[in-house]
Amino acid sequence: MIRSPVRGQGLATNSFMTALTFTFVVLAMSAVAGFLGALTGLGGGVVIVPALALALGVDIKYAIGASLVSVIATSSGAAAAYVREGYSNIRVGMLLEIATTVGAIVGAVLAAHVTTHVIAIVFGLVLLQAAYQSLFKSEPEDASPTESDALGKRLRLEGTYPVNGTRQKYGVRNVPTGFGLMFMAGGLSGLLGIGSGALKVIAMDRAMKIPFKVSTTTSNFMIGVTAAASAGVYLSRGYIDPRVAMPVMLGVLAGAFAGTKVLVQARVRTLRLIFGCVVLALAIEMIVNGLTGKV
């Protein structure tokens, strides 16, 4: 179980590690986070930030800076594979990117003006949602309308996706609602250094009635662009420390790559349960530490 470090002290043994130890510990943790993130579809950022902050006592600003970088790596790295499957909708993605990038900049600027306790608590709430999704949700049945609504038509957002060898048409609805949710997703991404893929999928799948597969792959493409929008703010404020970001980026990338390779044989159901429990524990730790001012 992860012990809660007292601010400025950390676990006694971690108070001052050598650079070598720190690098390899973070590399290992990030590889596990990237692996589980790829298998469960929740991404690595959502566990690496609390892991760094709670287990190693890393200041949350360094943790979200390193996580943001790893989010870009997994998103761009997986783009080729997703395109090959022929699911993502580039028009929908690009249109909604206007909302996520503006939201991300707002979130990243906010991160500098709120205390780390607030960041920890908001992070905990996002983790609770992720735990719920991992433990209780299964992929929803696709019941997408084939016709877009008026605005969706004007914006030519409808597309086709492969179903049993043929390409099936789908329409896109409720663009303004989706746009609003995407602004929030961008804000959380900028504030917490995560991809907030879960909220992006909800915006497209639930609000805009886009098929689930199209939503998840389009979300993956959007995550990298959203994260790049906060990167400038993070970089200029010094959140991206190369000594922390290096093992996180390399570890998450390697873990995610391994995760996509074993995805086919893995018992995803069991993994989701384990992952959900870990995320739930992290959520509670983050909220408690945020409330008591320890993170």
Binding site: T18, S75, I105, V225, A231, P242, M249
Partner: protein, 121 residues
Amino acid sequence: MDDQRLETNIGNLLRAGVLLSAATVFGGGVLYLVRHHADRVSYHQFSPDGAVVQSFRGILKSAAHLNSEGLIQFGLLLLIATPVARVALAVAGFALERDRLYAGVSLIVLVILVLSLMRAM
């Protein structure tokens, strides 16, 4: 060129960018560990003082001097550039298809990204 072909090419380009970035970060990381493996490190308290590696100019300069942290940061810059390149290519792709609406939409996203990254200039 249809959407699908264009996307496949862009996807491959992005992966190449990520690999190049990862190789640079790895190289910088090895150099960092060779030189600093015995350093005592602690990241408990955030301090915004590493000015050398926070601006584009600082990063380029320190990477050119083969400073390990500058090299890592340069690799991370390459990584941050991949989604930006992706959006720029989408602008070009839509413009070639004479899709003015989406060339415009992509251009707005590109401008937002560039304005945001200018902060780190």
